[in-house]
Symmetry: C2
Subunit: 149 residues, 2 copies
Protein backbone atom coordinates (compact mmCIF):
# COMPACT_ATOMS: atom_id res chain seq x y z
CA UNK A 1 0.00 0.00 0.00
CA UNK A 2 1.04 3.64 -0.34
CA UNK A 3 3.02 4.85 2.64
CA UNK A 4 1.15 8.16 2.55
CA UNK A 5 -2.14 6.39 3.23
CA UNK A 6 -0.50 4.12 5.81
CA UNK A 7 0.80 7.20 7.65
CA UNK A 8 -2.63 8.78 7.56
CA UNK A 9 -4.17 5.68 9.13
CA UNK A 10 -1.32 5.45 11.62
CA UNK A 11 -2.28 8.90 12.92
CA UNK A 12 -5.50 7.38 14.30
CA UNK A 13 -3.53 4.73 16.19
CA UNK A 14 -1.12 7.37 17.51
CA UNK A 15 -4.05 9.44 18.82
CA UNK A 16 -5.26 6.34 20.64
CA UNK A 17 -1.81 5.67 22.10
CA UNK A 18 -1.52 9.26 23.34
CA UNK A 19 -4.99 9.09 24.89
CA UNK A 20 -4.02 5.88 26.69
CA UNK A 21 -0.84 7.41 28.08
CA UNK A 22 -2.76 10.52 29.22
CA UNK A 23 -5.02 8.16 31.20
CA UNK A 24 -1.98 6.66 32.93
CA UNK A 25 -1.99 3.63 30.69
CA UNK A 26 0.30 1.92 28.20
CA UNK A 27 0.82 4.06 25.06
CA UNK A 28 -0.10 1.60 22.34
CA UNK A 29 -2.98 2.35 19.97
CA UNK A 30 -4.58 0.59 17.03
CA UNK A 31 -7.28 0.93 14.42
CA UNK A 32 -8.98 -1.49 12.04
CA UNK A 33 -9.76 -0.16 8.56
CA UNK A 34 -11.97 -1.65 5.88
CA UNK A 35 -10.93 -2.08 2.24
CA UNK A 36 -12.62 1.20 1.26
CA UNK A 37 -10.87 3.14 4.02
CA UNK A 38 -13.79 3.03 6.48
CA UNK A 39 -12.64 3.10 10.08
CA UNK A 40 -14.23 -0.04 11.57
CA UNK A 41 -12.86 0.25 15.11
CA UNK A 42 -10.15 1.97 17.14
CA UNK A 43 -8.77 1.49 20.62
CA UNK A 44 -5.82 1.44 22.97
CA UNK A 45 -4.31 -0.82 25.57
CA UNK A 46 -6.56 -0.90 28.67
CA UNK A 47 -4.56 -3.01 31.13
CA UNK A 48 -4.27 -0.17 33.64
CA UNK A 49 -7.51 1.69 33.01
CA UNK A 50 -9.78 -1.38 33.18
CA UNK A 51 -7.47 -3.78 35.01
CA UNK A 52 -7.94 -5.96 31.95
CA UNK A 53 -4.93 -7.87 30.62
CA UNK A 54 -6.86 -9.05 27.55
CA UNK A 55 -7.25 -5.60 26.01
CA UNK A 56 -4.14 -4.90 24.03
CA UNK A 57 -4.52 -2.08 21.50
CA UNK A 58 -5.20 -4.44 18.60
CA UNK A 59 -7.76 -6.53 20.49
CA UNK A 60 -9.45 -3.31 21.68
CA UNK A 61 -9.75 -2.07 18.07
CA UNK A 62 -10.95 -5.50 16.91
CA UNK A 63 -13.56 -5.54 19.68
CA UNK A 64 -14.68 -1.99 18.90
CA UNK A 65 -15.31 -3.06 15.30
CA UNK A 66 -17.93 -5.52 16.57
CA UNK A 67 -18.92 -8.73 14.82
CA UNK A 68 -17.86 -8.77 11.18
CA UNK A 69 -18.78 -11.44 8.67
CA UNK A 70 -15.30 -11.27 7.15
CA UNK A 71 -11.99 -9.48 7.65
CA UNK A 72 -10.94 -9.93 4.04
CA UNK A 73 -9.15 -6.82 2.79
CA UNK A 74 -9.11 -5.19 6.25
CA UNK A 75 -6.00 -3.53 7.66
CA UNK A 76 -4.93 -3.49 11.31
CA UNK A 77 -2.88 -0.40 12.06
CA UNK A 78 -0.89 -0.44 15.28
CA UNK A 79 1.71 1.85 16.80
CA UNK A 80 3.90 -1.13 17.81
CA UNK A 81 4.85 -4.48 16.30
CA UNK A 82 2.04 -6.86 17.36
CA UNK A 83 2.83 -9.34 20.13
CA UNK A 84 2.07 -13.04 19.62
CA UNK A 85 -1.41 -12.62 21.08
CA UNK A 86 -2.27 -9.88 18.58
CA UNK A 87 -0.42 -11.59 15.73
CA UNK A 88 -2.52 -14.68 16.40
CA UNK A 89 -5.65 -12.54 16.18
CA UNK A 90 -4.60 -11.25 12.75
CA UNK A 91 -3.83 -14.73 11.45
CA UNK A 92 -6.97 -16.40 12.79
CA UNK A 93 -9.38 -13.81 11.42
CA UNK A 94 -7.64 -13.40 8.09
CA UNK A 95 -6.88 -9.69 8.45
CA UNK A 96 -5.08 -8.95 5.19
CA UNK A 97 -2.59 -6.28 6.17
CA UNK A 98 -0.83 -4.88 9.23
CA UNK A 99 0.64 -1.38 9.37
CA UNK A 100 3.25 -1.22 12.15
CA UNK A 101 4.28 2.16 13.57
CA UNK A 102 7.61 0.82 14.81
CA UNK A 103 9.41 -2.41 15.64
CA UNK A 104 12.49 -1.00 17.38
CA UNK A 105 11.35 -1.08 21.01
CA UNK A 106 9.53 -4.42 20.66
CA UNK A 107 9.32 -7.02 17.94
CA UNK A 108 6.42 -9.44 18.03
CA UNK A 109 5.08 -11.73 15.33
CA UNK A 110 4.84 -9.54 12.24
CA UNK A 111 7.49 -11.52 10.32
CA UNK A 112 5.60 -14.72 11.09
CA UNK A 113 2.48 -13.05 9.70
CA UNK A 114 4.37 -12.00 6.56
CA UNK A 115 5.45 -15.62 6.11
CA UNK A 116 1.76 -16.56 6.25
CA UNK A 117 0.72 -14.13 3.53
CA UNK A 118 -0.19 -11.02 5.52
CA UNK A 119 1.04 -7.76 3.95
CA UNK A 120 3.23 -5.94 6.47
CA UNK A 121 4.16 -2.27 6.30
CA UNK A 122 6.65 -1.07 8.93
CA UNK A 123 6.78 2.74 9.08
CA UNK A 124 9.67 3.35 11.52
CA UNK A 125 7.75 6.26 12.97
CA UNK A 126 9.89 8.38 15.35
CA UNK A 127 6.92 9.49 17.47
CA UNK A 128 5.85 5.88 18.08
CA UNK A 129 9.42 5.02 19.11
CA UNK A 130 9.64 8.05 21.41
CA UNK A 131 6.34 7.22 23.13
CA UNK A 132 7.45 3.66 23.87
CA UNK A 133 10.94 4.67 25.00
CA UNK A 134 9.50 7.20 27.46
CA UNK A 135 6.99 4.66 28.75
CA UNK A 136 9.42 1.74 29.10
CA UNK A 137 11.88 3.96 31.01
CA UNK A 138 9.14 5.30 33.29
CA UNK A 139 7.24 2.03 33.91
CA UNK A 140 9.45 -0.99 33.25
CA UNK A 141 7.49 -3.35 35.52
CA UNK A 142 4.19 -2.45 33.89
CA UNK A 143 5.65 -2.95 30.45
CA UNK A 144 7.04 -6.36 31.37
CA UNK A 145 3.68 -7.35 32.81
CA UNK A 146 1.95 -6.39 29.56
CA UNK A 147 4.15 -8.65 27.46
CA UNK A 148 4.35 -11.47 29.99
CA UNK A 149 8.05 -11.06 30.77
Amino acid sequence: MEHRLARQWLATAVEEARAGRAQGGIPIGAALYGADGTLLGRGHNLRVQEDDPSLHAETAAFRAAGRQRSYRDTTMVTTLSPCWYCSGLVRQFGIARVVVGEDETFRGGHEWLAAHGVEIVVLDDPECVAMMREFIAAEPALWNEDIGQ
Copy 2:
Protein backbone atom coordinates in the same frame (compact mmCIF):
# COMPACT_ATOMS: atom_id res chain seq x y z
CA MET B 1 0.69 -33.99 34.06
CA GLU B 2 -1.60 -36.77 35.29
CA HIS B 3 -4.58 -37.31 33.04
CA ARG B 4 -6.81 -37.74 36.07
CA LEU B 5 -6.07 -34.19 37.20
CA ALA B 6 -6.36 -32.89 33.63
CA ARG B 7 -9.81 -34.48 33.35
CA GLN B 8 -10.86 -32.94 36.64
CA TRP B 9 -9.83 -29.49 35.42
CA LEU B 10 -11.46 -30.11 32.04
CA ALA B 11 -14.78 -30.57 33.85
CA THR B 12 -14.72 -26.85 34.72
CA ALA B 13 -14.23 -25.92 31.07
CA VAL B 14 -17.01 -28.30 30.03
CA GLU B 15 -19.39 -26.66 32.53
CA GLU B 16 -18.55 -23.32 30.95
CA ALA B 17 -19.12 -24.65 27.43
CA ARG B 18 -22.50 -26.07 28.42
CA ALA B 19 -23.50 -22.79 30.07
CA GLY B 20 -22.55 -20.93 26.89
CA ARG B 21 -24.63 -23.24 24.70
CA ALA B 22 -27.60 -22.93 27.08
CA GLN B 23 -27.38 -19.14 26.55
CA GLY B 24 -27.57 -19.62 22.78
CA GLY B 25 -23.83 -19.18 22.39
CA ILE B 26 -20.89 -21.15 21.08
CA PRO B 27 -20.11 -24.18 23.30
CA ILE B 28 -16.46 -23.64 24.06
CA GLY B 29 -15.30 -23.20 27.64
CA ALA B 30 -11.96 -22.64 29.33
CA ALA B 31 -10.32 -22.24 32.72
CA LEU B 32 -6.93 -20.98 33.88
CA TYR B 33 -5.35 -22.86 36.79
CA GLY B 34 -2.39 -21.90 38.93
CA ALA B 35 0.50 -24.22 39.74
CA ASP B 36 -1.06 -25.19 43.08
CA GLY B 37 -4.39 -26.04 41.45
CA THR B 38 -6.07 -22.72 42.29
CA LEU B 39 -8.71 -21.77 39.76
CA LEU B 40 -7.60 -18.30 38.59
CA GLY B 41 -10.34 -17.65 36.05
CA ARG B 42 -13.00 -19.39 33.97
CA GLY B 43 -15.16 -18.38 31.05
CA HIS B 44 -16.79 -19.25 27.78
CA ASN B 45 -17.09 -17.84 24.29
CA LEU B 46 -19.25 -14.68 24.35
CA ARG B 47 -19.56 -13.76 20.67
CA VAL B 48 -23.32 -14.16 20.66
CA GLN B 49 -24.16 -13.17 24.23
CA GLU B 50 -22.15 -9.93 24.24
CA ASP B 51 -21.79 -9.40 20.48
CA ASP B 52 -18.07 -9.48 21.22
CA PRO B 53 -15.78 -11.26 18.75
CA SER B 54 -12.76 -10.85 21.04
CA LEU B 55 -14.07 -13.10 23.79
CA HIS B 56 -13.14 -16.63 22.87
CA ALA B 57 -13.29 -19.07 25.78
CA GLU B 58 -9.57 -18.83 26.52
CA THR B 59 -9.48 -15.03 26.39
CA ALA B 60 -12.56 -14.90 28.62
CA ALA B 61 -10.85 -17.14 31.21
CA PHE B 62 -7.63 -15.11 30.94
CA ARG B 63 -9.58 -11.89 31.42
CA ALA B 64 -11.49 -13.31 34.39
CA ALA B 65 -8.17 -14.12 36.07
CA GLY B 66 -7.37 -10.40 36.09
CA ARG B 67 -3.87 -8.96 36.05
CA GLN B 68 -1.24 -11.49 37.03
CA ARG B 69 2.42 -10.74 37.56
CA SER B 70 3.43 -13.99 35.90
CA TYR B 71 1.80 -16.96 34.18
CA ARG B 72 4.69 -19.26 34.95
CA ASP B 73 3.42 -22.74 35.83
CA THR B 74 -0.17 -21.88 34.93
CA THR B 75 -2.36 -24.19 32.85
CA MET B 76 -5.01 -23.16 30.33
CA VAL B 77 -7.70 -25.80 30.04
CA THR B 78 -9.98 -25.55 27.02
CA THR B 79 -12.67 -27.78 25.58
CA LEU B 80 -11.30 -27.28 22.02
CA SER B 81 -7.87 -26.96 20.41
CA PRO B 82 -6.99 -23.25 20.71
CA CYS B 83 -7.26 -21.14 17.56
CA TRP B 84 -4.29 -18.96 16.50
CA TYR B 85 -5.63 -16.03 18.49
CA CYS B 86 -5.76 -18.07 21.68
CA SER B 87 -2.53 -19.91 20.91
CA GLY B 88 -0.83 -16.53 20.54
CA LEU B 89 -2.19 -15.56 23.96
CA VAL B 90 -0.64 -18.66 25.52
CA ARG B 91 2.72 -18.06 23.87
CA GLN B 92 2.93 -14.34 24.62
CA PHE B 93 2.11 -14.69 28.29
CA GLY B 94 4.21 -17.76 28.90
CA ILE B 95 1.37 -20.02 30.02
CA ALA B 96 3.18 -23.28 30.69
CA ARG B 97 0.63 -25.90 29.76
CA VAL B 98 -2.55 -26.33 27.71
CA VAL B 99 -5.08 -29.08 28.33
CA VAL B 100 -7.19 -29.59 25.20
CA GLY B 101 -10.56 -31.33 25.45
CA GLU B 102 -10.51 -32.36 21.80
CA ASP B 103 -8.86 -31.54 18.48
CA GLU B 104 -11.09 -33.55 16.16
CA THR B 105 -13.63 -30.90 15.16
CA PHE B 106 -11.05 -28.08 14.95
CA ARG B 107 -7.29 -27.97 15.13
CA GLY B 108 -5.67 -24.64 15.97
CA GLY B 109 -2.13 -23.86 17.09
CA HIS B 110 -1.46 -26.38 19.84
CA GLU B 111 1.29 -28.17 17.90
CA TRP B 112 3.00 -24.81 17.29
CA LEU B 113 2.82 -24.20 21.03
CA ALA B 114 4.33 -27.63 21.73
CA ALA B 115 7.20 -26.74 19.37
CA HIS B 116 7.75 -23.62 21.49
CA GLY B 117 8.00 -25.48 24.76
CA VAL B 118 4.40 -25.46 25.99
CA GLU B 119 3.26 -28.77 27.50
CA ILE B 120 0.20 -29.99 25.60
CA VAL B 121 -2.25 -32.61 26.86
CA VAL B 122 -4.98 -33.66 24.41
CA LEU B 123 -7.73 -35.62 26.14
CA ASP B 124 -9.92 -36.72 23.18
CA ASP B 125 -12.98 -36.17 25.31
CA PRO B 126 -16.16 -37.57 23.69
CA GLU B 127 -18.45 -35.02 25.35
CA CYS B 128 -16.38 -32.12 24.00
CA VAL B 129 -16.52 -33.65 20.51
CA ALA B 130 -20.28 -34.20 20.76
CA MET B 131 -20.93 -30.61 21.87
CA MET B 132 -18.99 -29.19 18.93
CA ARG B 133 -20.50 -31.59 16.39
CA GLU B 134 -24.01 -30.66 17.48
CA PHE B 135 -23.18 -26.95 17.39
CA ILE B 136 -21.41 -26.96 14.01
CA ALA B 137 -24.31 -28.87 12.43
CA ALA B 138 -26.88 -26.51 13.96
CA GLU B 139 -25.05 -23.19 13.39
CA PRO B 140 -22.47 -23.51 10.62
CA ALA B 141 -22.44 -19.77 9.73
CA LEU B 142 -21.92 -18.76 13.35
CA TRP B 143 -19.09 -21.25 13.72
CA ASN B 144 -17.38 -20.00 10.56
CA GLU B 145 -17.71 -16.43 11.79
CA ASP B 146 -16.06 -17.34 15.09
CA ILE B 147 -12.99 -18.77 13.40
CA GLY B 148 -12.83 -16.18 10.62
CA GLN B 149 -13.68 -18.59 7.79
